[in-house]
Subunit: 155 residues, 2 copies
DNA sequence: CCTATTTCTTAATCTACATTAATGCACTGC
DNA sequence: GCAGTGCATTAATGTAGATTAAGAAATAGG
């Protein structure tokens, strides 16, 4: 359990690593993401202040996610093993977030996903480049551009 | 904490209900799913023997998922509150499953998702109708049909 | 500052999957 | 036993979003 100061762009965890840690963001902004076999990047989550980022794989198995800093950040690094009762609630919160995300990905169009994202994470929209939002939504930056244009026309 | 015997097709939980329970499958097969605003059904998870199904929303908020039985089943019903240390590991397992599912949905094509599903849940493929597999994969039954046809040609 | 690199936008074309519709098949229940 | 309903498959057509390409705008770094 130690405090880290990370610079924008710095990588905290690589895909494939074992015994990866849990990161609690005190200030700044982190993200977790994968790179698939075609070399494409897919953002799994953003983690602003007070959020927690970690790969959900068990400590002994290789991580599926990279974690890096989108802004200069201060984070607390912890071992995965420490799971007390207080954490159980946090785990359930995370489950809920992931459940919502899956339902979104399965049932909503690009426009709907964008609307939902803007409504749910208004501050993050301002802080990250468009291409990362596109990556989070599961679309290309070009598609996000058109979505935003259509949105403007409709008012 | 009680034992339930449910018949094929019986609904255990409706979307919108509060204070929903956790179900542990002893035998048979359950599924959780949502119905979107366009009236379309999307299967969130299958739960065969020894799996656990539940909506991840906190007990007081309305559930997002329906849960019903695909086969006659025997299940244990439990309250969500009871979360002991032993459960923490189960929660982490679930997180991992959901994390994998999100990455799949974002990075893999229909064919790849089907291949992965067959490889990961070979027994479930045999037990559920095609349209439910399609729904789980996030595609239409028609698209699943073509995927399977292409697969046969390639051998 | 000024240049270089990355990011964003726009438009043209392409493609995976959705939609629609028709047909054959299995299961169900009288 | 056979009508009725739901399910799987096939094929024709439609469409959201991907890909490709090129220019404009923003950012970074010396």
């Amino acid at each position: 359990m130690k405090k880290l100061e990370v610079k924008k762009g710095q990588i905290l965890q690589h895909k494939g690593e074992v015994h990866t840690k849990v990161y609690i963001v005190k200030s700044g902004l982190l993200r977790s993401y994968t790179i698939d076999d075609k070399g494409k990047e897919h953002i799994f989550m953003f983690a602003p202040e007070d959020w927690l980022v970690a790969d959900s794989s068990p400590p002994e198995t290789p991580a599926e996610l990279f974690i890096d800093a989108i802004e200069d950040s201060i984070v607390i690094e912890r071992d995965k093993e420490i799971t007390n009762g207080h954490d159980a609630q946090k785990l359930i919160n995370r489950l809920q977030v992931l459940q919502k995300r899956i339902i979104m990905l399965m049932s909503a169009s690009a426009i709907e996903r964008y609307e939902h994202f803007v409504a749910t994470y208004p501050d993050i929209v301002q802080r990250v480049p468009q291409r990362m939002i596109a990556s989070y939504l599961g679309i290309t930056p070009e598609a996000l551009s058109t979505v935003k244009r259509q949105r403007l026309k409709e008012r």
